[in-house]
Symmetry: C2
Subunit: 216 residues, 2 copies
Amino acid sequence: MRTTHVPVPPPASDTEGTMESHPAPGGHSVRTRSQHQRRKRIVQAAAALASRGGVEAMQMRTVAERAGVALGTLYRYFPSKMDLVVAVVGEEIDLLESSIERRPPGAATPSSRAVDVLMRATRGLMREPELADALIRSLIMAEVQTPFGDRMTGLLLRVSADGLSLEEASEEQTDLAGSLASVWVQELLEMLRGRRTYDQIQRRIETAAARLLADI
Amino acid sequence: MRTTHVPVPPPASDTEGTMESHPAPGGHSVRTRSQHQRRKRIVQAAAALASRGGVEAMQMRTVAERAGVALGTLYRYFPSKMDLVVAVVGEEIDLLESSIERRPPGAATPSSRAVDVLMRATRGLMREPELADALIRSLIMAEVQTPFGDRMTGLLLRVSADGLSLEEASEEQTDLAGSLASVWVQELLEMLRGRRTYDQIQRRIETAAARLLADI
DNA sequence: CCGCAAACTAGAACAGATTCTAAAAGCTGT
DNA sequence: ACAGCTTTTAGAATCTGTTCTAGTTTGCGG
């Protein structure tokens, strides 16, 4: 076994449990500033590499080198490559969320607001196809629980069901938003495989959203 | 680069293009009988190993050994581990299809017939969690186009829209069936991650199917 | 300033997928 | 039976994720 919940006491790894990403004022062993910086350097190096040649280019040795840390240290911060990818994705989602906040979808119906958000995310990802490919795939594969789906679902609920959060929503509402997120993820995958165009995705998402979020 | 459309002329690999799996009377360079048998032995060995310890246990060296072929030969038939997994999955879907044929879903509404099929598939996969895990994940990751989603979509159309095939269905019908298949795949993944129970999946699939296939 | 535990580093070691090579085996047409 | 071709084979070699080791550096309580 490998990627298993090891009880290591090292630098507080965010992106776990029920999420949280930023410098997050957790409550536990908040390490030194230099550690935060090291972590940041690592994630940046990883993202930079991934945005070039995808996951393949994001080799652990290379990341460590570019980030100026030893391989062992890299593994101390991120027990597996997947964990690193998850962290990179976290940043991307942060970006999307703040973008939504800055310019919230203004459409009239819940479903069109949801479509708006999803297509905005799609365009964002399309801008760096290599990175997108790397991230999406890796996340789907992740053994560990990734906040990806949940964050996306929460985002959808928020924009479609008038500011509802994941906790306040009814089970059915969560199910429906989650389903739409699923459809989106799969469409994204198909696009990365070269089997969908942007327009096709939009059509499918619109169709699905119209039905799933009809009376949400 | 690696898993790239290499122009190798070796044994006709099925599970490509628009699908086909069985001994299939394609039309191209059908190699000798011994090659079919070799191929079959490989896939069997792979499936056997995967149903034990998942993809991890399905190591290329081991597969080659058990199938009684050289490693090089294995790679000649299946250019990458993923391709091998795709082949194994093909067999599983065949099983599901013939099961459906033997005992077609009898429910009254299109959506409940679809739910019936999906949950039957779910149970089938749950029986061999290791294999299921290996297969689903690998398929999603596959660089190559896998017939998985399409076959599932076709199956759904067939049982829900009164025997419609992928070709005859309207674009919207295909979109809707495809979306339901997407939701199912994601739920399956969540289950494999230990985040869904059978009942939860059933509820979500029912909810999604009811809306997506309402008037199909 | 001292000493200790945790964090870090350089680099070797290991594991499994994939590739490469040289030689043996299998077929095909003559 | 033979030459010329492709397929197989055994095994070494390569590549990248991950682990391990030994030694160095850093942060901190005294």
